[in-house]
């Protein structure tokens, strides 16, 4: 998004200090529009053809355009403008007509309205006029209510025009034919780098997941031939039988401990992805399979054991691969990439590593947001609003199909093993401006982002994340604390940047010595 997009909120900020700037439209225009307050919202809506029709009950073209006035077919969304804290418009198209309207009430409830077919700009204009009138009335006769009016913020950011990766849009979701084109006669993926790049930009078609995920999760090496993969599959099947045997032995040796672990696994299995038909219903055998995989994982990784959230990450693997052995090994490798694989004995807390990277990435890419966090209590730097994003890899932030595209983007590990952190920064970048505009304290930042869950634009966020990664790879100098962010895939850096320059950004603990200082 451009820097200038917040102009209307800046007007509001001026208003806070008493310098009311009417801004949009002249005085006549405002006086003219005050007349709309003489009628009820329903009357106004009828007169101006703004009634919302329930599309489920109307099939007539005329009706669906909102011209019906029949009782029973209309549904009104009404909201008391005086009882709100902010309204924010997010445009999703370059024409600035479609997008989302996010309304926050004073007690931090959020209502998100989607405008898929235009009209948002017109509504935004009305709100802006209303806001100006209100600001004027406050200035002239004082605030009529105890509620401070200055908190109502109507922002109209322009459609995002951030820097995109130049290769953005070159790829389509990968199909079977395209996958085949990457294989040689023996079934070897010759150029795995290009495949991962393809998936990074466009992910894979729904029906390709079963085939591609075991590669992305390194169960099958890219360079393996079809024959070798058959052998690997057989070996893994046998290995899994041994894991099963080990499980029975282990559980027999310490029955109380394992019964308790099994209990906590079962508690979560029965409430994981129940809306997915694959897991729906009581006594669904797939639930039993999920339980077995999680117990086996805990048996084989006793230092990690079972942690809530694992079932959420396993469920899509199991329902996609529909095979216990495949799902187990994909899950095991998936866990290696997540914060779940931190062990209490290990020296490294992976969550803390991630948060530390993220803090520095926000500082680098979104300095205003970082400053806002710095103003809050120290707890704000815990970045609580991202914990669930990282733990469940955005599974509860986007509808599942989109969340799985995010997973694929992360698993592709194109240029970085921390793509999920670029997604975090992208969300902050696209949706975080409102946090600053509303001056939300650290606890309400959490509430704000959790209200946006399932309402964010996944395509936009991913595009932004790729743009940020591209930007990062082109930086002349990188803060030393982010040295490890893209270290994994050196061969993919731009050829003209054979080595990276780092500088010390002074965010070390006292004891650490920075080689770049």
């Amino acid at each position: 998004m451009s820097e200038k997009e917040l102009s209307s909120s800046e007007d509001e900020d001026d208003g806070c200090e008493g310098k009311v700037d009417v801004g949009v439209g002249g005085l006549e225009k405002i006086l003219e529009s005050t007349q709309m307050f003489d009628v009820t919202p329903e009357q106004f809506a009828l007169e101006h053809d703004l009634m919302l029709t329930d599309t489920k009950t109307t099939d007539n073209d005329e009706q669906s355009r909102g011209r019906t006035k029949k009782a029973g077919t209309t549904s009104l969304f009404s909201v008391n403008l005086g009882k709100m804290r902010s309204m924010r418009v997010f445009y999703s198209d370059p024409e600035c007509t479609c997008g989302q309207l996010v309304i926050a009430t004073l007690d931090s409830h959020y209502k998100i309205l989607h405008f898929h077919h235009g009209g948002l700009d017109k509504l935004a204009k009305i709100f802006e006029q209303w806001s100006s009138i209100k600001a004027r009335s406050v200035q002239e006769v004082g605030s009529p209510s105890a509620i401070a009016d200055k908190q109502l913020i109507i922002c109209q950011p322009a459609a995002p025009t951030f820097e995109k990766d130049p290769e953005e849009g070159l790829f389509e979701k990968m199909t079977l034919n395209e996958w085949r084109s990457y294989e040689n006669k023996a079934g070897v993926i010759v150029d795995s780098s290009t495949v991962r790049k393809h998936i990074h930009f466009a992910s894979v078609n729904f029906d390709m997941r079963e085939k591609v995920w075991p590669f992305l999760l390194r169960v099958y090496p890219w360079e393996s031939s079809a024959d070798q993969r058959d052998n690997i599959k057989n070996d893994l099947f046998l290995e899994y039988q041994n894991i099963r045997k080990k499980r029975y032995r282990t559980m027999d040796n310490a029955p109380a401990r394992w019964l308790s672990i099994e209990n906590s696994i079962v508690k979560d299995v029965i409430r994981t992805d129940r809306k997915n038909p694959f897991f729906a219903g009581d006594n669904n055998p797939n639930g039993e399979t999920m339980k077995n995989i999680l117990i086996n994982y805990a048996i084989m990784n006793p230092e990690i054991n079972y942690i809530q959230g694992m079932s959420d990450l396993l469920a899509p693997l199991l329902s996609t691969l529909n095979d216990e052995v495949d799902a187990y090994f994909c899950f095991t490798n998936f866990m290696k990439r997540t914060v779940f694989s931190s062990t209490p004995q290990g020296n490294e807390n992976l969550m803390e590593t991630n948060l530390n990277y993220l803090r520095n990435m926000i500082k680098l890419f979104e300095p205003d947001f970082y400053q806002h966090l710095e103003k809050q209590k120290p707890d704000a730097m815990q970045l609580m609003f991202v914990h669930r994003w990282i733990l469940l890899c955005f599974k509860r932030e986007f509808p599942e199909n989109h969340a799985l595209h995010v997973w694929e983007g992360c698993w592709a590990a194109w240029r970085t093993n921390y793509f999920h952190l670029f997604v975090c920064v992208a969300i902050v970048s696209v949706y975080g401006k409102d946090v600053i505009a509303q001056d939300l304290p650290h606890d309400e930042i959490l509430l704000y982002f959790s209200s946006l869950a399932m309402h964010m634009d996944p395509v936009l966020v991913l595009q932004k994340a790729r743009g940020l990664l591209y930007e990062f790879t082109r930086l002349e100098k990188i803060p030393c604390v982010l040295e490890g962010l893209c270290s994994a895939e050196n061969e993919q850096w731009h050829s003209h940047k054979s080595f990276r320059n780092f500088y010390c950004n002074q965010s070390h603990t006292d004891k650490e010595v920075c080689p770049y200082q």
Partner: protein, 211 residues
């Protein structure tokens, strides 16, 4: 108690503001208690495990005073407990929940209590809650009551499903926090905190020093 923020919200003119944390084993109904209290609804057949940390604000009137409760819902991610520890530190009150239909969740209450002693505020108000009292019980009410008495904390049985005692559990916490600080409860005490079907009086002297 935290200083009330000067912000434009319905919370700007509250008289008291407290942080409450709901703790307990997984699947004891912590989120359901919160949703029942906040919205008066029960999450039937739509349940999902809590991951990360979440909270809701609830505004209550006590006499002529407005009290804001910021209620934090926690998850069972022991591994990331360091995250929650700072919230223990800040919490004015804790609702420690077990499931009366699950023996293990009750057995773990002692672990939770020692964890609270270690990480919680010294003056933190703890209430022991036996949830799911709509289900066939495995843990007798007397067991819960005895454990609470041993630890000098109030006890009640609730049902997030029927709503039984849910308001009283939270209201009781608010009353005790205010009473501890100011020595009286505006509007008089409404929630007798020991509540297992029948009401019982309790000696609050050990948790309500008059300041």
């Amino acid at each position: 108690m935290h200083p009330v923020r000067k912000r434009s919200s319905i919370y700007q003119d509250v008289d008291f503001s407290y942080t409450v944390m709901i703790l307990g084993d997984s699947c004891t109904g912590k989120t359901c208690l919160l949703i029942r209290y906040k919205d008066g609804a029960f999450l039937n057949n739509n349940f999902i495990s809590t991951v990360g940390i979440d909270y809701r604000n609830k505004l209550i009137n006590m006499g002529d005073k407005k009290v804001k409760l910021q209620i934090w819902d926690t998850a069972g991610q022991e591994r990331f407990r360091s995250v929650a520890t700072s919230y223990y530190r800040d919490a004015d009150a804790l609702l420690l929940v077990y499931d009366i239909a699950n023996r293990q969740s009750f057995d773990n209450v002692r672990d939770w209590l020692s964890h609270i002693k270690e990480h919680g505020k010294e003056a933190v108000q703890v209430t022991l809650v036996g949830n799911k009292c709509d289900l066939p019980r495995v843990v007798q009410a007397d067991e819960g009551r005895r454990l609470a008495e041993e630890n000098g904390i109030p006890f009640m049985e609730t049902s997030a499903k029927t709503g039984q005692n849910v308001d009283r559990a939270f209201l009781g916490l608010a009353e005790r926090m205010i009473k501890m600080k100011y020595g009286f409860v505006p509007g008089g005490e409404m929630a007798d905190t020991i509540a297992v079907n029948e009401s019982k009086s309790i000696n609050l002297s050990n948790c309500c020093p008059i300041t």
